[in-house]
């Protein structure tokens, strides 16, 4: 296919990854998946609350989607590794989103622990997609550690504040030879489109869809925005030429 996103041996046609938290009803999930075209869907692993019977979310993720468990709740690399191994043993496949957070106020990831977890899990054959605070040297270390993609945050989780880290993400896109997937903070389709225009490989959206007035319609809107942004990127955004035609040429001396 012409413009597939290749991660972990898979060719993805959709560049919108969908998170499944905060939906008012799980039955919305397959509808949102369908309307948005998402092919990668994240889930979390939690202790069962025996007083309150929940449904198994995995049952709502349509067959054919890649189920990507996250390691949310992990505060250290060791905990993230444990969650990832459990999820895989429970039949979740090889994909895992590393998320290590020790900051309960802003929910910003711990890059150091994230690198450690990535290194261990990549060596065990996981397709590792680490969620991180955008930082060039961390991204390089994640790449060296064997990450399949790097997922910088646009702004804090669930904040819907958009691409506040735009400049840092731009640097990652320029410098890191892995897919850069903007995760967290994207609040509107226009922000998803902007990330894609910049050259992001994909975006992961959860809160903005799950908490919209009509999540299914919003899922569709995000799917279209991601496609439009990607198409614009591929079309080659016209450069802004920031130099005037020089009055004194620099190469005039060349005669041969």
């Amino acid at each position: 296919m012409a413009d597939a996103l290749k991660i972990g041996g898979r060719d993805l046609t959709s560049r919108l990854f969908l998170g499944t938290g905060k939906f008012s009803a799980n039955r919305l999930i397959p509808e949102v998946v369908k309307a948005s075209g998402a092919q990668v869907v994240t889930v979390a692993l939690r202790r069962v609350d025996t007083d309150y019977q929940e449904e198994n979310i995995a049952a709502y993720v349509p067959a054919g989607c890649i189920l990507m468990p996250n390691t949310s709740g992990a505060r250290t690399a060791e905990e993230a590794v444990r969650i990832a191994r459990l999820a895989r043993a429970a039949g979740c496949g090889d994909w895992v989103k590393i998320e290590v957070i020790r900051d309960n106020r802003y929910l910003l990831p711990d890059n150091y622990e994230t690198i450690k977890a990535t290194e261990i899990l990549a060596a065990e054959g996981f397709v590792v997609l680490p969620y991180m605070s955008p930082d060039l040297s961390v991204a390089k270390r994640l790449a060296e550690a064997g990450a399949a993609a790097v997922m910088p945050l646009g702004s804090p989780i669930g904040s819907n504040r958009g691409l506040r880290t735009r400049e840092l993400i731009r640097i990652l896109i320029e410098e890191i030879p892995l897919p850069i997937i903007v995760d967290a903070g994207i609040g509107r389709p226009s922000e998803a489109a902007e990330a894609m225009e910049m050259g992001a490989a994909a975006v992961l959206v959860n809160t903005a869809i799950a908490t919209a007035g009509d999540p299914v319609a919003m899922g569709r809107a995000f799917g279209l925005a991601v496609e439009a942004g990607r198409a614009a990127y591929l079309a080659g955004m016209p450069g802004t030429v920031d130099y005037a035609r020089a009055s004194s040429p620099l190469t005039g001396f060349l005669r041969d």
Binding site: G19, V43, A44, R46, R47, N56, A59, L86, A210
Partner: protein, 66 residues
């Protein structure tokens, strides 16, 4: 004897199996994952897994997450 289930100390019958613990809590075995002392125990091994004093049992499931 007492064991620890999801971080809480609970009293259970001597020689209780994992299968019995799960059933006694009314959980649907299809949607959950059980870990004993930090190691996953496969569904088919639950009836044969006999618990000992101070064992740590974690019962987990997939939930929505981003």
């Amino acid at each position: 004897m007492k064991i620890i289930i999801n971080g809480k100390e609970e009293a259970v019958a001597e020689n209780a199996t994992l299968e019995e613990i799960v059933a006694s809590r009314g959980l649907n075995p299809g949607g959950i994952i059980v870990e004993l002392n930090y190691a996953l125990v496969k569904r088919e091994s639950w009836p044969d897994t006999i618990l000992r004093e101070n064992d740590r049992v974690e019962i987990l499931r997939f939930v929505g997450g981003g």
